[in-house]
Symmetry: C2
Subunit: 169 residues, 2 copies
């Protein structure tokens, strides 16, 4: 009888200690994931933090700047982000030829909203600090918006931003 | 003799294949580490990306804003960052009571450089968007600079920023 009680006791101790460990593991999991500057638009790319910093890099590296306005809780932004992050060609040309900035908050520069404030919205700025309002997507009401299916248009606009810049400087 | 040659050949094949694998592993390791918004000032804290975003949060959450100017290649910034990230009290009060922003690039707002541009430099801004130029460290030539040994002064300044705000609103 004593043996039976002893073994029940031992089993209880083991169960409680395992439960304790599981709880600890759960608490540890609640640690926040550090925020990344890429915010999911390409962890392997180098992102500027602010518009001022991005303009500085565009001028000093003589590369066009690509500004992506988006929002975490906007499904259109999320869908475009997924397409952007998964497209190898886009990621490569972005890495090699552009200064990159993604913002969830508007800047004070109104040149970055030529036809209003909406997301997702992508603007190109050349190293002379001119916003390329002429580089647009395929929607006449929201000229700087792109859908995931417009990723080829975006790619060709990136090429345009790169070439226009080159011939004009 | 043939056996000896054969075994030497086999050993060579194995060595070469291992070398090949090691090289691959090295190439994989060159993957970039995603940039974090904390930049080492506290991965568990929530950081605003831009000054505009930080001001928005300060107003809407009615919390004072703490702006840390620093540079990656400045040893004084690095030393203060280490002290800041390792100080549990600072991290706790920062997490609970402040909107946080760390910048490696100046903003266009001159109110954030009341006595010039230098790093490290810490400014407090209250939710009414007033820069608290009265909250200073212990150096008369660089009023908003802190050394790692000044971490207690910084902590008491954080308390001051929190209390001043409370009585004034």
């Amino acid at each position: 009888m004593l043996k039976v009680l002893l073994s029940i006791f031992l089993v209880l101790v083991v169960v409680i200690s395992i439960m304790g460990r599981t709880q600890k593991a759960t608490v540890k999991k609640e640690k926040r994931v550090p925020q990344t500057l890429s915010k999911g638009w390409g962890d392997q790319l180098i992102w500027a933090q602010t518009y001022e910093e991005a303009l500085f890099w565009a001028r000093s590296k003589n590369k066009p700047l690509m500004v992506i306005f988006h929002l975490d809780d906007c499904p259109h932004s999320q869908a475009l982000k997924k397409a952007f992050a998964e497209d190898e060609k886009i990621q490569k040309i972005a890495d090699e030829n552009f200064i990159l900035l993604n913002l969830v908050h508007e800047t004070t520069d109104k040149h970055l909203s030529p036809d209003g404030i909406y997301v997702p919205r992508i603007l190109f700025v050349d190293p002379s600090m001119t916003v390329r309002a002429d580089i647009t997507g395929r929607y006449s009401n929201r000229k700087y918006a792109y859908e995931p299916s417009d990723i080829k248009i975006l790619l060709s606009n990136m090429e345009k931003a790169r070439k226009l810049m080159k011939t004009e400087l």
